[in-house]
Amino acid sequence: MTTTLLSGRRSARWIMKILSTLGTVAVTFLGLLIVTFLIGRVVPVDPVLSVVGDRATQAQYDAAYHALGLDKPLIEQFWIWLVNVFHGDLGTSNLTTRPIAEDIARVFPATLELATVSIILGTAIGIPLGVWAAVRQGKLVDQIVRVVGLVGYSAPVFWLGLMGLLLFYFKMGLISGPGRIDLSYEYDFTPVTGLFLIDTAMQGAWGAFANVFSHIILPASLLGYLSLAYISRMTRSFMLNELGQEYITTARVKGVPEWRIIWGQALRNAAVPLVTVVALSYASLLEGSVLTETVFAWPGLGQYLTNSLQNADMNAVLGGTLVIGAIFVGLNMLSDLLYTLLDARTRNRK
């Protein structure tokens, strides 16, 4: 009897929790979309121009204005758009003349692939560097890591990208140039996921895989470097905080080997806030880095959204915003989940 009551209460609590999470997500999305929609409408760019061009007659202009629904009140335009979204229709892009969903499905995998490789590089190198800097606080290593971080924060990514291309592609010939793949490999495999590294590997097209890898490595290293700068600085400060705690002193007194204290105990605790840092870095990479995408002719979400915004193609901008919003919400939820796994206190909290 008591057990049933208890489990009933627990499930009610879970349902409440899920409902409140869903409510928060819905409100966040609605706010995000309203703001984006309004920004799109106050931008001093005439969306009709990108449809009919500069030379259209007044009649053609008016026809396009009407077809885009711009003659309706703002609130009604937004409502129509929202209803369509709930029916799974994100609308059509004025620029590419294709459904937004199709456009996003085409450009997003390019960004996803680049962002994923970047975050792997950034985390795999950034965390050990941060730990190392914290352990050797004030020493040469720490200074070096700090300078690396500073350069990563302050150097213009555009410039770094061009210099990287000049050196590694043009002068040294170590990597392939801009773009995702060389044309000669383009027909060696069929894009399924749109993530070329995975598609080529799954279909055993190793020549194409190597080519894709040699294309992605520089832009991914560059973006990875930018996240590395942030991740290593944050790791350092979380680690310094942990290393000053009493349990570390106790462990040392008990004679626990230093490597276990650092990697096993301090880092394990520092990992909790680090999850958020990494998740946020990943999310910002997934928005698409427009400058990197421009320099490397990477057909990703950043370029797509910027081009759409400059042409006031609001359906495309809203569609992209929806995707980015979903990513942020998704990653936030994922980091919450990881928190629960990593931190025993959050698990047991009633």
Binding site: P44, V45, D46, L49, S50, V51, V52, G53, D54, R55, T57, Q58, A59, Q60, A63, N94, L95, T96, T97, R98, R106, V107, I125, I144, V148, V151, L160, L162, G164, L165, L166, F168, Y169, F170, G173, L174, S176, G177, P178, G179, L183, S184, F209, A210, N211, F213, S214, I217, L218, S221, L228, T294, V295, F296, A297, P299, Q303, Q310, N311, A312
Partner: protein, 531 residues
């Protein structure tokens, strides 16, 4: 730091690449021409709607218009899909005869029915370029009666007035007059849209190449049309890769990963001049660079101020130094190469003369004025040079930078003081520019026609009449004289400071031969390129 970390990743990459024999770089495939171009302006592939630079060029290589002209001498007009034509005595009807025995890429025969369908379709769809045909008196309501098939290979084209025949023929050289495959297009038509929805992203033509694929912001792929009736192209494929950054285009070209770079800046051109592997090819275009002086501005509306402005540009420095040969000085509204073009350039930088004129205008100390400036490096550099030379005469020119569409929106609403613009002719006849620089039938704010003269609020009833009259003059010599007269008037008194004509410069690998750069974008031709 970046370097050492990168070496680490290269080490990883070399390990992974160990399995692949060697990575091959440079050298594009011998049967494929690869060009880097910023192609994000393409919004459609339907010739009835295409009006953008890149899409026009693609249509020019993949569709055939009824009429063509020699890009080296535009007065040399010839039939492309049309074989011959005669004009009725009253000058209103042109009887066309089509070439026989030719096929579309689909294998369907090209007949007069296709030509009539294409023209009717363009007028009925009424997209932006429809006016090019519509201005000859065709409306969606009357076009079917006035463009009529008379035999399998013949049709009549009846205009509402006896327009100059060259005007009609030049209109039929424009992309909008491309012959589309009626049978193929109509297979995809729905709700009476003449296949518009389908053709926006597909292909139905008969040019030297076919459009195989368009991936927005990524690439356009053309493939040899095996049914093409002219001389078969040497290249099997022509690929346009979207490379938005010009420095990246230059790197790819120097490395040999592309054959042609299309958006080189003045700096890139200067740097490539000494490169033995690169050939810089150029051709004069019809596009003009100009300043539009809004006549709603109290200072700019003074005739002497307008004249003074024309003495305040350093024309030679702009053309030769800032643009590094991508433009030449040209001041009249008809570009060099057009019938009746006036190629004299009466104005040059003369600060003293300008000061004198400003004094006569009653503003001896100058004034403050703004200029909406598109934020591209070249337009900005030119605008800054103008700012400096104008300052010498006391004019305080404030630059308002903005994105292309943003500045254009403001210009079209007549809310600018000065707009630094670029104007490309829509077809090769002088009427195209006369009808915008010297034509303004209604200067009121709610006018339906908004030519450049309207955008700058220049009320010109006399010139508007002259432009209408020149359209109907069938004697070529007299017609040319009429345009020279109009150009002189605009030069003397107009609110336009036209300062340059564009020269298209592209960088190609040394082994690439046979590129044709024509005056209009749909004239750029790659059918006979070898490498």
């Amino acid at each position: 730091m970046f370097h050492s970390r990168f070496l680490a990743s290269v080490a990883v990459s070399s390990l992974l690449l160990g399995a692949a024999p060697t990575l091959t770089y440079a050298e594009t495939p011998p049967d494929t021409l690869i060009q880097a171009w910023s192609i994000d302006d393409i919004i459609t592939l339907d010739p009835a709607e295409i009006f953008e630079f890149t899409a026009s060029e693609i249509a020019g290589n993949t569709y055939e218009t009824l009429i063509g002209y020699n890009p080296k001498d535009v007065s040399d007009i010839y039939g492309r899909a049309a074989d011959s034509w005669t004009v009725s005595e009253d000058g209103k009807t042109i009887h066309f005869k089509m070439k026989e025995g030719r096929k579309f890429a689909s294998g369907n025969p090209i007949t007069a029915a296709d030509a009539v369908f294409s023209l009717v379709r363009a007028v009925k769809l009424d997209k932006s370029p429809a006016f090019i045909i519509g201005q000859l008196g065709f409306t969606p309501d009357n076009v079917e009666q006035n463009i009529k098939q008379t035999g399998e290979y013949t049709f009549d084209f009846t205009m509402d007035k006896p327009y100059a025949t060259t005007l009609a023929l030049y209109c039929l050289t424009a992309t909008v007059a491309s012959v589309v495959d009626e049978k193929l297009v109509m297979e995809h038509a729905k709700d009476g849209d003449y296949g518009y929805d389908w053709l926006k992203t597909h292909y139905a033509g008969s040019g030297p190449f076919t459009i195989k694929d368009w991936r927005p912001n990524e690439a356009v792929i053309l493939e040899r049309d095996e049914n093409y009736s002219g001389e078969a192209p040497t290249m099997k494929r022509v690929i346009y890769r979207h490379i938005p950054e010009t420095s990246t285009q230059r790197l790819l070209l120097e490395k040999g990963d592309i054959d042609i770079a299309r958006n080189l800046t003045a700096d890139d051109i200067a740097a490539l001049k000494g490169d033995d592997n690169i050939e810089l090819e150029s051709g004069i275009k019809g596009t003009l660079y100009y300043l539009g002086l809004n006549q709603k501005n109290e200072y700019l509306s003074k005739p002497k101020v307008r004249e003074a402005m024309k003495y305040l540009l350093d024309y030679d420095t702009i053309a030769n130094t800032i643009m590094s040969g991508k433009v030449k000085v040209h001041q009249a509204f008809l570009p060099e190469g057009f019938l009746g073009a006036y190629n004299e350039n009466p104005y040059s930088l003369n600060i003293d003369k300008a000061k004198e004129l400003l004094k006569e205008a009653g503003v001896p100390d100058g004034f403050k004025v703004t200029m909406d400036t598109r934020n591209t490096p070249e337009i900005t550099a030119m605008a800054q040079a103008m700012q400096q030379s104008m300052a010498k005469a006391g004019i305080d020119l404030e630059l308002i930078p903005g994105d292309g569409k943003q500045t254009l929106t403001k210009y079209r609403a007549r809310k600018h003081d000065i707009y630094i613009g670029r104007w490309g002719p829509d077809f090769q006849d002088p009427h195209t520019n006369a009808s915008t620089f010297a034509f303004n039938p209604d200067n009121s704010d709610d006018a339906t026609s908004k030519p450049l003269a309207w955008r700058n609020a220049w009320d010109i009833p006399e010139l508007t009449k002259a432009t209408d009259a020149a359209m109907l003059e069938r004697d070529a010599k007299k017609r040319a004289d009429m345009y020279v007269d109009e150009q002189k008037k605009v030069l003397d008194n107009g609110p336009f400071v036209i300062y340059a004509q564009e020269i298209e410069v592209l960088g190609a690998r040394k082994d690439v031969k046979g590129i044709v750069i024509g005056p209009s974008f749909n004239d750029n031709n790659f059918a006979h390129v070898t490498k």
